[in-house]
């Protein structure tokens, strides 16, 4: 049944087989995508026509590799810019929200908490369209009353940031709250008794304690923003983010450049995961 109990051979073998099939299912699409990034063919499919790096470095005219593909490079840059902005903003507000819900008491706290976790169960598409409609109404209102056109309120970079921020902040808040809940508040009291102000206590003691979860929250926020599709789809302006860009290319027929991008992303994420596990383990020790 479990590792401490005697198990029949058939049970263990059967179970292992199931797990192996599961992992094959999990990885086959990724591995095939990565391998075909190096196929010397115009299409991301078999037969294998030999090894090439053209889909990364090719200068054209036949094969334009990723590093000479201005559309995809711009998509990656936009995604980076968006993800950095979103993770910065949502980490700041998420930390504040964690303090608010874990350390302050006020009327209607329960109701506000409910609102704070609501984005978890609102489909991303709906968040996208409701923010689109709302900002559009505001923008029309401002234009009618003041005669000013606010560009940030029409589909654009800042609208995407707002849309992603609206739900990513919830996740960051929950990550930081989980750690803040375990914080020993007698430490704060000790600092108060020694004459520290509230701000000093937060800055010198509580935030130091929260640091791993703040970094973790920021990293998750970056990742979620970088790959978000559903909310972004409705708020995008002229500059597409990478996932939207890829979607349009896949829909209209693709070249192995997409495999090259996938290869880079998969390798980056795997490295990130390994580093994360390694540092996480170190901290536990």
């Amino acid at each position: 049944m479990i590792r401490t109990l005697p198990n029949s051979k058939a049970y263990l073998t059967g179970y292992k087989l199931f797990i192996i099939i599961f992992f094959v299912f999990l990885f086959s699409p990724l591995i095939v995508t990565m391998i075909l990034a190096f196929n010397d063919s115009m299409f991301p499919s078999l037969p294998w026509k030999g090894f090439t790096l053209d889909w990364f470095f090719g200068k054209g005219p036949e094969k334009i590799g990723l590093f000479h593909d201005s559309i995809n490079l711009r998509g990656i840059a936009t995604s980076f810019k968006t993800a950095i902005t979103v993770s910065l903003l949502s980490t700041i507000v998420g930390t504040m929200a964690a303090f608010l819900f874990e350390q302050e008491d006020f009327k209607f706290k329960g109701a506000l908490y409910f609102l704070m976790i609501a984005p978890l169960v609102i489909p991303g598409v709906i968040l996208g369209i409701s923010i689109l409609l709302f900002t559009n109404t505001i923008s029309i209102f401002i234009e009618d009353t003041f005669g000013i056109y606010v560009k940030a309120l029409s589909p654009s970079f800042w609208l995407v940031v707002m849309g992603q921020f609206s739900f990513i902040t919830t996740i960051v808040t929950m990550i930081i709250s989980a750690r803040l809940r375990k914080f020993d508040r007698t430490l704060e009291e000790a600092a108060f008794n020694l004459g520290a102000s509230k701000l000093e206590v937060i800055w010198l003691i509580t935030l130091k304690y929260l640091r791993p979860s703040i970094i973790g929250g920021a990293a998750i926020a970056f990742l979620m923003s970088f790959e978000n599709f559903n909310t972004t789809l409705f708020l995008i302006g002229a500059d597409s983010t990478l996932p939207i860009n890829l979607y349009q290319q896949v829909r209209d027929g693709s070249t192995p450049v997409i495999n090259a991008i996938s290869f880079i992303l998969i390798v980056t994420v795997s490295t990130f995961a390994v580093v994360n596990l390694y540092t996480g383990k170190k901290e536990e020790e």
Binding site: M1, I2, R3, T4, L5, Y15, F18, L26, P29, L30, V32, T33, F43, P44, S45, L46, I92, M96, A97, L100, E104, L112, Y113, F114, L115, M116, A118, L120, V121, I122, P123, V125, I126, L127, I129, S130, I131, L133, F134, F165, S166, T169, M174, K198, L223, F226, E227, F229, N230, L233, F234, L246, Y247, V250, R251, S262, V269, S270, F272, L277
Partner: protein, 287 residues
């Protein structure tokens, strides 16, 4: 004197924390959804509030059929994900060697940290008519001619299961990790069969993880756009595609808002029923 100045300082910190959070929730969550509701109740052809957009939904079978289909498929996908995730989570926490646990966890996480777009693309390369599986099968002589394996409901369900699985596995691992092995050992020593141990100990213990996993998976599947669009059948839409078409393609924001609001009601209702059935509270489940 002392206490007075202290309470005043604490109020200050409250205001500093409260304002950004309140602005976030008010401007990006509450008001946009009120606006969604308001616009769904208006129409370009008449002034004032009207229920026309909702009427259109119920009178036009293609709309509500898509809606029902999306809901039913989301429930089916959630159930399949649960059936696959339970044994996987159990293997990682209770059967695999303790040394390999960390590695297995990374292996599970990596595919899901990669963008959904890339995961779906991987399946398209594998399954399409000119795809990898077809070339291999033709070469081996198993297929006589290529078979289009994309663009049908079964493939779409598989794709949805694939893209949402992690969000079930992780919460279940979370609760299973704290399940004391000696409970299972005791049951085993007292002669309980595997099925009884699963039914009486493991599943009841995992219920919070199962519930939060199911809610997240259900929400993701219900609201997904990419997977049904790229892997599903060409003549059967997902409800999010319906919304996209109204808003972006036909520029009919009023109708699109009504659809959006209906999707919101549907998702909240199904989650509410699920929580009621298992007697759990929302705030507890999401923790």
């Amino acid at each position: 004197m002392m206490t007075k100045s202290k309470t005043r300082k604490i109020r200050w910190s409250f205001i500093i924390f409260f304002i950004p959070v309140a602005l976030w929730l008010l401007l990006l969550i509450v008001l946009p959804h009120i606006e969604l509701l308001r616009i769904s109740l208006t129409s370009t052809s008449t002034d004032g509030f009207t229920l026309d957009n909702y009427k259109a939904f119920f009178l036009e079978p293609i709309y509500w059929l898509t809606f029902v289909r999306t809901a039913v498929y989301s429930i089916i996908v959630t159930a399949i994900v649960l059936v696959i995730s339970m044994p996987v989570a159990f293997y990682i926490t209770k059967i695999s060697k303790i040394k390999t646990q960390g590695l297995l966890m990374i292996l599970i996480l990596v595919p899901f940290w990669v963008s959904e777009m890339i995961r779906v693309y991987g399946w398209m390369i594998l399954l399409r008519e000119s795809g990898v599986i077809n070339s291999i099968m033709l070469k081996l002589g198993i297929f006589n001619q290529p078979i289009e394996m994309l663009y049908n409901d079964i493939t779409m369900i598989m794709g949805l299961v694939y893209t949402s699985m992690l969000f079930m596995i992780v919460p279940i691992i979370g609760v299973l990790g704290s399940l004391d092995d000696s409970l299972i050992e005791a049951a085993h020593d007292l002669g309980a069969k595997k099925l009884a141990i699963w039914k009486e100990i493991i599943i009841p213990y995992c219920m919070p993880g199962i519930m939060s996993g199911s809610i997240i998976v259900f929400m993701l599947v219900l609201g997904s756009y990419l997977t049904p669009k790229l892997m599903g059948g060409k003549n059967a839409l997902w409800f999010t595609e319906q919304i996209y078409n109204q808003i972006i393609v036909y520029f009919n924001w009023e109708q699109g808002s009504a659809f959006g609001f209906l999707l919101l009601i549907l998702s909240s209702m199904i989650i509410w029923v699920a929580l009621k059935l298992t007697k759990q509270s929302f705030s507890e489940v999401v923790r």
